[in-house]
Amino acid sequence: MENLYDVLVIGGGMVGSAVARELSRYELRVGVLEKNLDVCYETSGRNSAVVHGGFAYDTGSLKARLCVEGNRMMGELAKELDFPFLRCGKVLVGNTDEDMETLKRTLKQGEENGAVGLEIIDEERLHELVPAVVGKFAMFSSQSGILDPFQYTIALAENACQNGVDYFFGSEVTAVRRDGEGNYHLSTPRGDFASRWVVNAAGLGCKTISDMLGIEGYKVIGSKGDYIILDKRTGPLLPMPVYPVPSNTYMGIHVTNTIDGNVTIGPNADMVSDFSYYGVPQENMDYLAESASRLWPHIHKADYIRNYSGILPKWVDSQGVIQDFKIEIRDDLAPRAVNLVGIESPGLTAAVPIARYAVGLMKEREELRENPGFNPCRKGIVRFEGLSSKEQAELIAKNPDYGEVVCRCEKVTRAELLQAIHNPLGVSTLVGIKYRTRSMMGRCQGGYCQMRLEQMIEEELGKKETEVLYAREGSQVLFGKVREEA
């Protein structure tokens, strides 16, 4: 068969892209089928963006093991793939004796999991670390951190792509068939694809794909969390994420600094069955602000710049108890299919270890030959903002497009936008360019730059104005011209 892939990965989020990248280390023909028009429209781009320490998960679980491993390697990975990551630490803040007991238990569990850099700190030390927080004591996790979830996912995907992986967007898998030779045939709106292996990294769609593969019976529920984003002016008041004392299943509403200096508040955790609705209700916004204010009393509506929500796919048993990550090959039901179910938090931290684990299962069944051309390094777009005046001057001297500031809030230049518009994955949506550059992400939310961005997409990619999309299929931004040439 001509078009036979060795592996098709279903889902191009951070886990799917990490799997694709791991696979590109071997001499394999790999494709990624992504239903959205970019790699981080769902859970990968809609989360707290915290790199976890690994203390919050049951000892011996995959969540614990792969999270600790992911945390340990994140610094190196960030260097290899050139995405922003900061090991800023984090605190879990408590007030009562019961809180103290929970924190001690959490610390002990963390140490058993292999997490390092955990300590209980008193109020004084807490206020040295985070002056603006309210609390009597805390557990400090020095190895926790934050990253840019968009850049992280994009970096994994671009590196996979540069190492020969094909990405197909708008390609939701609607049916799976296995032929007599054991090859898989996947139907999508953009045509059929065939492969020897498949990997189910469908995130919120993991159960659907698992069922299609013939591995039936998983129960997956959605945990929807809403967030509010605050203006960068608030960033200096929060040097690291501040969490409440966790319960068994839920980390609680926290206040998180972002890698770019904003602050996010959230998430709540509503159980949902609709995995495509991302609306944020008013009462949740009010609840987030109220409950986070108890930890960090600096939340003012004048600083709101946006809200968003994300959904975590949680695998639960028949009693509704949340289970570990499931990473399996069922040789009996679906040979040559790696099935990933319930990849939720800490999936961001653990994406690469999850991918290695998944590829490890494949290697137990088939010898994979190393790809001598594999290059683990990828360069991101050099950002103008944040450089010294001298560096900025040098950049402009080399490339005058760096002297043209298009997004005033985030100081994004034409040079960065051009690189983003011509990204290796071929993503052309406004939101795709936003995720790659931060234009439209600032306090004016594209009030100044969005028309310029739209025009650049038209000009650079030769699109008509009616073809420019905001984010998803059907998200047309413009309906035509005001005046047409006769």
Partner: protein, 121 residues
């Protein structure tokens, strides 16, 4: 009968009351300048409006030149005027003040360019 008007001549937006008896205007109150009274009389007899829109420019550094009318035209002819203006296409460079439609719809009102557009450089 008393009819209420919000004067649109200046930003003050005076609320003006006009008393009409047997179809004739008998008194005007509430205005703070003579333009208000004139506005009400015009509104009663023949309400007129100006419009501002754009015309296509070819070969310019901008795709459109903004235009307006030099005098207001009857309110109910606005969409007819728009249809006329939509037909206009200019070649850059375009100078502000250029008349692009003289006497639109036969009225004493020209469509003039309000923004200069240089040729694409």
């Amino acid at each position: 009968m008393i009819r209420e008007f919000t004067c649109i001549i200046c930003p003050n937006g005076c609320e003006i009351q006009a008393e009409i008896v047997d179809g004739a205007l008998t008194s005007v109150t509430g205005h703070t300048c003579p333009k208000g009274e004139a506005y009400v009389k015009q509104e009663l007899a023949d309400p007129r409006r100006n419009i501002a829109t754009s015309v296509l420019v070819q070969g310019g550094e901008l795709p459109l030149a903004s235009v307006r009318l030099t005098n207001p035209i009857p309110k109910d002819r606005i969409f007819d005027a728009m249809a006329e203006i939509r037909k206009v296409s200019l070649q850059a460079p375009v100078v502000a003040g250029t008349v692009v439609v003289a006497g639109i719809l036969g009225y004493d009102s020209d469509v003039i360019v309000t923004k200069a557009v240089a040729a694409k450089g």
